[in-house]
């Protein structure tokens, strides 16, 4: 008989049948989440921008590899819906191509950093004592580094391909995650069910992987969401400082940098506003989602 059935049978014997079907963290969270209009806007926009960037180029086909100087800074027209930039690249097509890089790097950096930070924080908190103290001092040191400055130095040193940039950004985001997850772990490690694993002879790794991390999953998911927004902004900063992705590849920040030269010379709005607005809307969507998820998983705030 499966464990759950044994427990259910025992409960029935004792007359302790739950009055209603117990609801999991996720079904409760889903309910709170879907009540949040801003979060739904966020989800809707993310779906739109993913389709725009990844499906769009197959419908609105443009050449983003070869320059075409006959189209130098051409204004928006029927042929080029958002005009062209100084190298004759179609701006709308570039927005899609740049968006692919921005979103891919943002998502990957967020997942890598939160993954590493979660394991580090859970191990540190669960181990406790000197191990915890040493591991956390390292995190303190990491958090004291001026992240933008060191990210800039690393981008200068290493040839910034998208993969390299993912790891450079992730390198600085996991410290905060590690500290948060450690805090959660400290609260969870003394719970009865975690202690029961130890009493039953379960290995520490099992406690961490099967009990602590799943119970901290709310915090972890929220962190991923905020991390995506932060990573997209960091990538755009690198692009703006010309320390980011190398041409002919591009990202939204590099597009902004390219348009900046022409801002004082005339009304070339299509070089500046589309990538800027794309960054803002994408990041605000992730922030809305993260905020709603935090409310959804924060059971203390729920009267149910």
């Amino acid at each position: 008989m499966a464990e759950a059935q044994v427990i259910a049978a025992a409960d029935a014997d004792l007359g302790m049948v739950p009055s209603e079907k117990p609801r999991g963290t996720f079904s409760r969270a889903w309910e709170v989440f879907t009540e949040n209009k801003l979060a739904l806007f966020g989800v809707g926009f993310i779906v739109f921008i993913l389709l725009f960037c990844f499906v769009g180029p197959h419908i609105y086909v443009t050449n983003q590899t070869n320059t075409d100087l006959t189209n130098y800074l051409c204004p928006p027209s029927g042929q080029h819906l958002l005009g062209c930039n100084d190298l004759g690249y179609d701006e709308l097509g570039r927005l899609m191509a740049g968006g692919q890089t921005s979103i891919e790097v943002g998502l990957a950096a967020a997942v890598v950093s939160v993954f590493f930070g979660t394991i580090y924080g859970a191990v540190s908190g669960f181990a406790g004592g000197y191990v915890d103290a040493v591991m956390m001092r390292l995190v303190d040191a990491g958090l004291s580094l001026p992240s933008l400055m060191v990210i800039m130095i690393l981008s200068v040193i290493f040839n910034p391909t998208p993969t390299v940039i993912i790891f450079i950004i992730a390198l600085f985001y996991w410290f905060g995650v590690a500290r948060l997850v450690r805090g959660e772990t400290l609260a969870l490690r003394n719970r009865e069910y975690v202690q029961a694993v130890r009493v039953l002879g379960g290995r520490p790794l099992r406690s961490v992987m099967r009990h602590i991390i799943p119970n901290a999953i709310g915090t972890i998911i929220v962190q991923v969401t905020f991390a995506v927004a932060d990573a997209i902004i960091t990538l755009s900063i690198l692009g703006f400082l010309t320390l980011g992705i190398a041409p002919p590849n591009t990202d939204w920040g590099s597009m902004l940098e390219g348009g900046l030269t022409y801002i004082q010379g005339g009304n070339y709005w299509w070089l500046i506003y589309p990538p800027g607005v794309a960054i803002i809307l994408t990041c605000i969507s992730f922030n809305f989602i993260g905020d709603a998820l935090r409310d959804a998983f924060e059971t203390r705030l729920q009267h149910r």
Partner: protein, 315 residues
Amino acid sequence: MIGFLIRRIGQAILVMILVTAATLGLVHLFPGGPVRALLGPKATATQIAFYNHQYGFDRPFYVQYLKWVNQLLHGNLGVSDKLNLPVTTLIGQDLPKTATLAVLGLFFALLFGITLGVYQAVHRNSVADYVLTGLSFLGYSTPVFFLGIVLVDWFAVDSHVFPPFGPQNTSSVWAILGDPRALVLPVFTYAFTFYAIWSRYMRSSVLDNLVQDYVRTARAKGASETRVVWGHVFRNSLVTIVTLLGLSLPAVVGGAILIEDVFNYPGMGLAFYQAALNNDFNVLLGLTLLAVTATVIGNLLADIGYGLLDPRVRY
């Protein structure tokens, strides 16, 4: 408290040692070593060996580190090879400029962040609360350089209300302050980024305090709502802001790289950016170190201030 202070300062020193070692280690990551990066691809092996010897890069890392720390403690951060200027001189020139901008920016961020944060908490879920919340979200979803560009486009290029760059006569703090029109856009950009975060913190801090027992007691004793909010809740909520102020010290010192770049304002941020483009590693090391020191001291001050202001906090 004394025991806590000693422990906390000990921790800070440990963090400084780790971080300085990591920072010095960074320059060795340059492909072909830092000297190759500085002298360029045409430098001969002899020249590189000469420089390596001069900088002590041919010694073991721990010797380099100890020598560097020793120089540091004597106030010597090395020389900028591109600017031909001691790094300490560079910092002496640029720190006042960056600090002026930062102090102005933080002042306005504080002023609006605190007052509007309190207002939002007291009028929770009102239209104004939603609008200001939206503004905050907009604030921290906008890359600061894009905000700067938009402001330049609207107020300098299109309408010529303000100049498109920060004050260009930066010979003294008074000269900078003597050009208030040029300060408006950079200070606004600076303030807005911090305002977006601080008003959120202030709002939730006030909300937390409004449900405390002492508020009920004050109301029961017949205190007016103004007195409850500004005499009791506001003062207790400020504790959060003290922490945030401590954490913003690195921004004052490190310089808002992006704002200084957008508005071409020659502070430490711009100096750092140019050093990054030029592989000028002594400047990079010196300015990073300064920012790290500011972070560690800022954290320390925030912790101490927290303990002093909140009598419930006992270390």
